[in-house]
């Protein structure tokens, strides 16, 4: 029983992490129709900037996390401007931007290696100490992640449903011409979606930086998982993406518990292939 609960809690932590990562990916996909392969690298940049501001400049972890979030958001907007926007009117936009964002990933990872070196780094925990959830002890920092993820998701959901600025992102994703004729600036909406998505990645990285080690390639595994999540949930719906994130988190936790770390990725990818074969619009995807 204890082991079961512990697995559940560990699934919750993973699910929170995947929800934050995949909601950003999903936002960019629904607005621009682009899959951003540099999403994981943006997460890594957030972690490194947070570490530099907090540990090297000595400004503390809160300022660090905010700086990391902001820096990733800015770099996201620059990536959109330089590597995505020139190809909007191109028929092969999806393929070209897959390559250009992959290039951005390599540039960011190599750049981080040159700036920060290969030595492992870690941020201090935002909240020291430990808490008990369902009879399982986890660090207070992980508990914060569990609480923060749904709050951020709800805020993002409210933004896209309740505010005109947020609605404009959905409108642009569904019909660019109709959106433009209502006075919505399409390129501004694209940049905003990319910026918010990248900032979310940066925030995730900064929070993860005190649980895992900060390395130039720390974003690649979360990006892979976020890809599985969006395929699982069906691209384009924030609620479905969030649901799938927690589902994958739980499945992964139970697989690690039952099968061990070695076979878990194998089974996860097998599941992804099955979903693509039988439910190509995702487990929660309609239509």
């Amino acid at each position: 029983m204890d082991a079961l609960l512990a697995t559940l809690v560990s699934g919750l932590v993973l699910g929170s992490l995947y929800a934050l990562m995949s909601s950003g990916l999903s936002l960019v996909w629904t607005t621009l129709g682009v899959f951003n392969f540099s999403h994981g690298a943006l997460m890594m940049v957030g972690a490194f900037v947070a570490w530099t501001v907090s540990e090297i400049l000595g400004l503390g972890p809160v300022t660090g996390i905010l700086s990391g979030t902001l820096a990733a958001g800015l770099i996201g907007i620059i990536i959109e401007r330089l590597l995505v926007r020139p190809f909007y009117s191109n028929r092969n936009m999806l393929l070209i931007t897959a390559m250009t964002t992959l290039a951005a990933m390599v540039i960011l990872e190599r750049g981080a290696q040159m700036i920060w070196g290969a030595r492992l780094k870690q941020l201090p925990r935002l909240i020291p100490g430990e808490v008990q959830i369902l009879g399982t002890t986890i660090s207070a920092h992980e508990a914060l992640l569990i609480v923060l993820a749904p709050l951020i998701l709800v805020a993002l959901w409210r933004f896209t449903v309740m505010t005109n600025r947020g609605r404009s992102l959905r409108a642009v994703g569904q019909n660019q011409d109709s959106a433009a004729l209502l006075g919505i600036d399409v390129p501004v909406a694209f940049a905003l979606a990319f910026g918010i998505s990248a900032a979310l990645a940066g925030l995730t990285g900064a929070l993860l930086g005190s649980i895992r080690f900060i390395t130039p390639t720390m974003g690649s595994e979360p990006l892979t998982k976020a890809m599985i999540v969006v395929i699982f949930g069906g691209l384009g719906n924030l609620g479905a993406t969030a649901g799938a994130a927690y589902l994958i988190g739980f499945i992964e936790a139970f697989l690690i518990f039952g099968l061990g770390l070695y076979w878990t990725p194998f089974v996860l990818f097998l599941l992804m292939i099955l979903v693509l074969l039988f439910r190509p619009n995702g487990v929660f995807g309609g239509k």
């Binding site: 449903v161 005109n164 609605r167 404009s168 959905r170 409108a171 569904q174 019909n175 011409d177 109709s178 959106a179 433009a180 004729l181 209502l182 006075g183 919505i184 600036d185």
Partner: protein, 241 residues
């Protein structure tokens, strides 16, 4: 007389194919105009060029005395020049109420969003009944109402409607025509593209016939041609019957 819209020598097209050839027309302050003519001769392209979706290759467009030839849609909409395109599907996964609220996007429109929303629901009670319905579930007529409703939410100072009754049943067509007449009575100047010349004559002050991307004839509603002559305009000197 002051001109609300003044188009001189406009040329535009898609890639290598030119659709508009040296097209000139104007709207005086306080009047509405209609555009008709065979399909594929540039009426929709003209509206796209005016609203900034398509950049003209030559010529000029002035709205309310200001040159807007090279402006992008956001600033053109902000100025109050609103275009409800043909077969506007809007946003399938958005509800009617939030689509209308979103349509009041510019600062000027937002200030009056509440009043405009009431007016739209009064004009189209069907939209009021279906507030929470997704746009993709609407019928052709309801979609057209939503499109016109959105245009009204933009606080138009000149409203361009591209075939607002295309493909609708006679009964629905009548309903929409009545609504458009009501909009016109509130003092919003219109540019209406339609195949139904009689409808245009009853609604607007002047008509332009557009063929091969040019204005080939201008008709004043005051001395309107009869049905026979309209048919001759469309089908050539041999007549239609």
């Amino acid at each position: 007389m002051r001109r609300l819209l003044d188009i001189i020598g406009l040329q535009a097209g898609y890639g290598a194919s030119r659709v508009l050839n040296d097209l000139s027309l104007h709207i005086d302050e306080g009047e509405s105009i209609g555009l008709f003519g065979p399909n594929g001769h540039g009426k929709s392209t003209l509206l796209k060029a005016i609203s900034g979706l398509l950049r003209p290759t030559a010529g000029s467009i002035a709205f309310d005395g200001k040159d807007i030839t090279t402006q992008r849609p956001p600033s053109i909409v902000a100025a109050g020049l609103i275009h409800a395109p043909q077969g506007n599907t809007l946003f399938g996964n958005m509800r009617i109420a939030e689509t209308l609220e979103l349509a009041a996007f510019s600062k000027r429109a937002k200030a009056e969003a509440g009043r405009h929303l009431e007016e739209v629901y009064a004009l189209f009670p069907r939209l009021a009944e279906r507030k929470q319905q997704f746009a993709r579930t609407l019928s052709g007529g309801e979609r057209q109402m939503l499109s016109i409703g959105c245009a009204l939410m933009c606080a138009p100072r000149l409203l361009m409607l591209d075939e607002p009754t295309l493909g609708l049943s006679p009964r629905l067509k009548e309903e929409l025509a009545a609504a458009i007449a009501k909009i016109s009575k509130t003092g919003v100047p219109l540019i209406v593209v339609e195949q139904d010349v009689e409808f245009l004559l009853s609604l607007t002050d002047r008509l332009y016939m557009i063929e091969h991307g040019e204005v080939v004839r201008e008709i004043s509603s005051a001395n309107a041609p009869d049905h026979e002559e309209v048919m001759r305009l469309y089908f050539g000197a041999e007549g239609a019957h």
